[in-house]
Amino acid sequence: MNLLDFVEFSLSGLSVGAIYALTGVGFVLVYKATRVINFAIGEFMMIGAYVFFGIAAKATMPTWAAILAALVVTALVGGLAERLIFRRLIGESAISVFMVTIGLSSIIIGIVEIIWTADPQSLPEFLPKEPFFIPTGFGEAFMPSKNGWGFIIAAVVVAAIIVVFRYWRGGVALRATAADSQAAYSVGINVPGVFSFAWVLGALTAAGAGILVGSIAGISSAMGAIGLSVLVVVIVGGLDSILGALVGGLLVGWLEAMASMTLGAEYKQLATFVVLMLMLLIKPYGLFGTHDIERL
């Protein structure tokens, strides 16, 4: 193993990690506001990717319009899921809600297979084709254009989300709801609205991440399995921490790349889940998560 390989693998791992981080941020937003662990996050990514695929391949729309349509459709699905399913489950045990998201993921997979069949497809190219060459002390590290652009787009979107949540009123309302929904109610925040908004936003980021993942690795009705990696990301980072999702995403992406470089591609998933298990044993609330204190 030489150093240049190491850098190239690290770069590709980090670019996947950036997409994990983006999805993780969407996941954390939903969790912070509504305390729902969304197992279907990978399937929301899949909706985004497939709607983009369906529109771009069939209609003669410019790419940007297809992407926009995909984002809107996925956001709508997210909002509807909140309004029709998760709003009814407020106050149910966390496990029940988690199982409902599992059921939802299965429904989404079925619908996608009915519309687009289970066969793998590839998304139309929409990113610039020139690969990146990153100069290092011992030669130029090669990075495929899709990975590079994926990293850049994910980073920009995550930065935008963070800025929005720091300064915009809606973001403040969401953080207030996350801190204490009863108190948020009593100061006049529209808490159900915040719940819907969090789901819409979570679905939106997932759709964006799904399009990026799809353009790198292709799409299939099994691509929702990436949601499992995202679960690991948010557990490592801490379920309710945006910073945690960022660090966790990059860390897990990098670790997966390292595992597939040193041990072989089949060890990628094993590495992810060993990390998950160790993390839960050592620090169950993740790197930056809030500790729950239980009272009788």
């Binding site: 496990i95 988690f98 599992i102 997979i109 079925g110 009788l296």
Partner: protein, 346 residues
């Protein structure tokens, strides 16, 4: 609660079946199950075997999730451990009546190991560690080729007793159904013992249970081991039914199937495990039948079977959790009370 069933002794109070009506129905059920091979076709006997296997496994998961409150999304992986253990021992020449308990004990040991995180984490976090366990076990099935046969898996010779090979589904029915019956019987009686009551206390409030002097770690591990024992036995019967096991036989979705089954059946009752396992196994078959009936009118509808099955599976989980969170067991209870109390309203 039955009108006019005043209990006059502790034995009567502790009895599982309190009225003669219940006992009669139980005997009727036993008779129906015993005569099933006489009139059911080969295909439906296969389904019956699958139902029996799923009942064993679901009863195990019910002990762990429904009664101890520890959600496991790795149950099918423990079933896989049992299947591999049975196949491995059978390949060494052991008879099935040794291989099946052996599978149970191996699965119990593995389950206890993966139950260790339950001391540290609970609820959803525990569910996630069991997902991790599921993937780690899948990896082991795939890569420990000297024992598990790698991607090709293991083939098993048919089980044989007194020189008769158990090949046909009606033979295996007589292996699977009594085992299912026994496992339901054991699970029901478990909750009349000290250990079972400790499980229930842990489920209802683990901290309170600990204050009462129940060793959480010990009982959680016992629960994991017991549940995995059931899963292992179910896996062993499964491998004698299909006679081959590969890493793809027991995936995460199969673990989700069992959790879905006990939710649909109704958490916290062994009867719920039976209902859930029967219902969730039969629904895809009914879908298949329905599609076969529609095929002459809508050619090509067969292609929709697999996605529709996935949608129905998800829809059942979502629908039951929203509209009937206590599961089929509650529906059953309501219907029974309606009849028992008629003409009064419940």
């Amino acid at each position: 609660m039955h009108i006019g069933a005043a209990k006059q002794s502790y034995a009567a109070d502790e009895a599982i079946f309190t009225t003669n009506t219940q006992k009669t129905w139980l005997v009727a059920l036993a008779a129906a199950l015993a005569t099933l091979p006489l009139f059911a076709g080969d295909y439906w006997l296969l389904i019956a075997c699958l139902v029996a296997i799923n009942v064993i496994s679901a009863a195990g998961l019910m002990v762990l999730t429904g009664y101890t409150g520890q959600v496991s999304l790795g149950h099918a992986a423990f079933m896989g451990v049992g299947a591999y253990a049975a196949a491995w021992l059978a390949a060494k020449g052991a008879p099935f009546w040794l291989a099946i308990p052996f599978a149970g004990f191996v699965a119990a040991a593995v389950g206890a190991v993966f139950g260790v995180p339950s001391l540290r984490v609970k609820g959803l976090y525990l569910a996630l560690t069991t997902i991790a366990a599921s993937f780690i076990l899948h990896f082991i099935f795939f890569n420990w080729a000297s024992v598990t046969g790698g991607a090709l898996g293991l083939n098993v010779e048919p089980a044989s007793i007194f020189g008769v090979k158990l090949i046909s589904n009606s033979h295996l029915y007589w292996l699977a159904m009594p085992l299912a019956w026994a496992s339901v019987w054991c699970a029901t009686n478990l909750f009349r013992t000290r250990v079972g009551r400790a499980f229930i206390a842990i489920r209802d409030r683990d901290i309170s249970a600990e204050v009462l002097g129940i060793e959480l770690f010990r009982y959680k591990l016992i629960s994991f081991a017991l549940a995995s024992f059931y899963a292992g036995v179910a896996g062993a019967v499964w491998v004698y039914l299909f006679r081959v096991v590969t890493p793809e036989s027991f995936r995460l979705i199969d673990s989700i199937f069992f959790v879905a089954a006990i939710i649909v059946g109704g958490l916290g009752s062994v009867r719920g495990a039976i209902f859930g396992a029967v219902f969730m196994t039969l629904v895809p078959e009914l879908l298949k039948l329905g599609v076969a009936m529609l095929e002459p009118y809508y050619p090509g509808v067969v292609q929709l079977l697999s996605p529709v099955r996935i949608i129905v599976f998800g829809g059942l989980i979502v629908g039951f959790l929203i509209f009937e969170p206590l599961g089929l067991n509650e529906t059953w209870r309501r219907v029974r009370h309606r009849f028992a109390l008629w003409p009064f309203r419940t």
